[in-house]
Symmetry: C2
Subunit: 463 residues, 2 copies
């Protein structure tokens, strides 16, 4: 049975008896007349195995040295410790079985490729070291999130993807339909007759699972979603995609302080998990993508995040020696430039900003006693800006009803949501993390398209 | 700080010093003149705490005993062991703070409700014991799946939800669009102009992540998806929903035997995890929903699953003393009645059926040497029928190309998929598990709508 290269780079190498067998892809071959050095990657680890193949030991030496990059081989040989070499060990091949010969026009030859080009070959880019590291980290971060929340008694809830409601009364949505695009059923007035559509009414892709997960918090106390969400927005920034994943924890019998504690606890857990389980991947990214990455992650787990109110943040920005594109005054929604300034220039670390003006936040956030602000919190982090948004929810039925009207939302669209206040309502709070924003923070990648396996943005869909 | 009821039902109760405080929902109140028995559930556990409240100790005794069901309370009191009572302990209240008074017309009064009725109040049904157990198990099962796969070096990949391709050339799809439903942009011929749609072409909701995850198996060796998938099918059975979650592991350097081993390993791990972590929930379902549940789960982990070929299965069905609605002969696709007969009547446990006729299976499955069958496997389980489907994938580029043509699929739609065979192709295999089918198996629930938080089926979408 194959040994995994991942295990060769750990202590479990000591327990192995040669010969061992590995299967993998040829990354490079250098050879002289008598000897060849073959770098093989088996997918289990970012690092390769250096294989030494000798002409006088292999019948098929000539075939082996001609193998195009990315060909697959099965190699049996002796594991040799090399304490003085850059690699800690080598594999001296007794046998090289050629499993699959790749086409020589393989696009990923040794030279470096631009991230833009690699996006066009999303089916091959995870074979590069950079994307190997990014998508390995994506997987480990997702698991760390589940592990933290499960071990803290949060129940995972799969809220629906197709929805008849618009979670926040904001955000452009994708319509989901089975009507004939050319000849949709129509009503008496010549309008599309959605009663003939698959679900008997107009439906969209979800922009957030929050409203649908709140009922579960009132049954299980602590719950969370972790799934895809969608925005059909006409934005072409490096931080926006049409399809992205969100984590949305929700807690009953909890307010803003508990929310802040959970955000910090969860993020520090994820970062520590990556420092423990993705060392080689993070080191590669630190060496080749973002030289401050490891420092930033070490600092993230080393100390508590900063905390200020929105009002303090505005004062701080008004006094800032910075040339903002968007002018600052109390009441504005903070822009990326403001958020980054606070995290990068003022605090040099993640900072919680609390108690935003009620008029710029969603209707479901709980009004503070000052009647000007709501019990909301955003977490701003260096390089990214807003990473997390949370709030205590308005649990007072009469106040919530007033806010629905004030925000011009239809009461009838929220009847079940209002019932949560009528039956067993209590203080509750929650937050949402943009998973890809988190991945940009923990990988150093600069564009959201480079942390998504197959990114979906306006005007572009492949694979 | 609140103590969680979940912890009261474990050994950690011994470490607590009274008084303790809990917050939760009132499930029932019985009272005499001087004393009240209040069952409180705090969401962390399926079982309640019995609270003893005495008139002479509480100023607000009159208010407390009038509380409608589902009101929220915060109770501080003395924890008293009751070794001779049905409950192992009680909480003798020193103080009952009324947190929220529920409306008295709360729909979930003490009497039992039909599952059909409860579906209409999906925002409240997780507060019933049955749905509490089901959705707690859903969460634990999801985590167990991640844990098993991560610990077996599988990398989690989020394949796209919005797609321009149809994974299997089969299955009705939902269209995703931002075009105006009443006045979509049209081309010269009066047809809908999809170049004006959000992504510049027609797009759909995914029916499977398999094709898009295969490239990642050829980079990471072992990978998996776990996300929502969609079928716009006109079927109203108890086993079909329009939106459901699938787990799709994919392995490089692996064939059908490894696939079978992983399916069994994963499912046994999940079931054992539930037996270990959801005892009280499973016991409730065994007592109230399916009296064979615990026996079935114990047997699932106790012994290997059965294994037969499709050809053997057909012989077995032809000889069966059963009155099938659909006649049996070699070449048919097995129907639910056949699958259930094999699992329930013949093997009395899960059974792998391998090597199906090539003509009834997907184009990407690897042709066997007999040229009649493919290296496919389905796992059939009692009560459900097909739970898992897997196969070795056709890695030979020329054979795959021939099959694309034979199955009337457009070569141009699969150019990148074909390139996986051209560059670094190797033996690989994978499988898909319908998460909700698995949940029906491990909960005893009979209808897929009762294992999904907010089910989506044709003609029905709420919340």
């Amino acid at each position: 049975m194959d040994v995994l290269v991942k295990d060769l780079y750990t202590e479990s190498r000591d327990g192995l008896t040669s010969p061992i067998t590995i299967s993998g892809w040829v990354r490079t071959i250098r050879n002289s007349k008598k000897i060849a050095f073959i770098e093989v990657n088996d997918g289990s680890y970012i690092k390769n195995v250096q294989v030494i193949a000798k002409r006088d030991q292999l019948d098929n030496f000539e075939d082996v040295i001609k193998l195009p990059i990315s060909s697959t081989v099965k190699i049996t040989g002796q594991l040799v410790e090399t304490p003085d070499a850059p690699q800690p060990f080598e594999l001296h091949a007794d046998e090289v079985i050629i499993d699959g010969v790749s086409d020589p026009d393989y696009p990923l030859q040794k030279k470096a490729h631009s991230l833009e080009y690699l996006r066009t070959i999303a089916h091959l880019r995870p074979r590069t070291n950079t994307f190997y590291a990014v998508f390995k980290i994506r997987s480990l971060a997702a698991f760390a999130i589940h592990e933290y929340l499960q071990h803290h008694d949060f129940v995972y809830v799969n809220t629906p993807i197709i929805t008849s409601s618009d979670a926040e009364g904001a955000g452009e949505m994708f319509r989901v339909t089975t009507l004939d695009p050319d000849q949709p059923e129509q009503d008496d007035k010549g309008k599309t007759d959605f009663s003939q559509d698959f679900f008997g009414q107009e439906t969209n892709l979800t922009v957030s699972g929050q409203l649908q997960v709140e009922p579960f918090a009132l049954a299980f106390r602590n719950v969370y979603t972790f799934g895809p969400t969608f925005r059909a927005e006409d934005s072409h920034t490096k931080r926006h995609a049409a399809e992205f994943w969100m984590i949305e924890p929700e807690m009953a019998f909890a307010g803003l302080p508990e929310t802040i504690d959970e955000i910090q606890g969860l993020l520090q857990y994820v970062v520590q998990y990556l420092l423990d389980h993705a060392q080689a991947d993070l080191q590669f990214l630190n060496d080749h993508v973002d030289e401050h990455l490891l420092d930033r992650l070490q600092q993230t787990v080393a100390e508590p995040f900063a905390r200020i109110t929105y009002t303090e943040a505005i004062e701080c920005l008004e006094q800032a020696d910075a040339d903002f594109k968007f002018p600052v005054k109390w009441g504005i929604d903070l822009k990326a430039e403001h958020e980054q300034y606070l995290a990068e220039q003022v605090f040099h670390k993640p900072v919680f900003v609390t108690d935003y003006p009620r008029d710029i936040k969603a209707f479901y956030m709980r009004d503070n006693a000052d009647e000007k602000t709501v019990a909301a919190v955003d977490l701003l982090v260096p390089r990214i800006g807003e990473l997390v948004g949370g709030s205590q929810r308005e649990e007072r039925e009469d106040v919530l009803l007033d806010k629905l009207h004030e925000f011009n939302l239809q009461e009838s669209d929220y009847d079940w949501y209002l019932e949560l206040r009528k039956y067993g309502g209590t203080k509750h709070a929650g937050f949402g993390i943009g998973f890809e924003r988190l991945l940009m923070y923990v990988t150093g990648m600069d564009n959201i398209r480079d942390v998504i396996p197959y990114p979906r943005v306006q005007g572009s869909i492949n694979f």
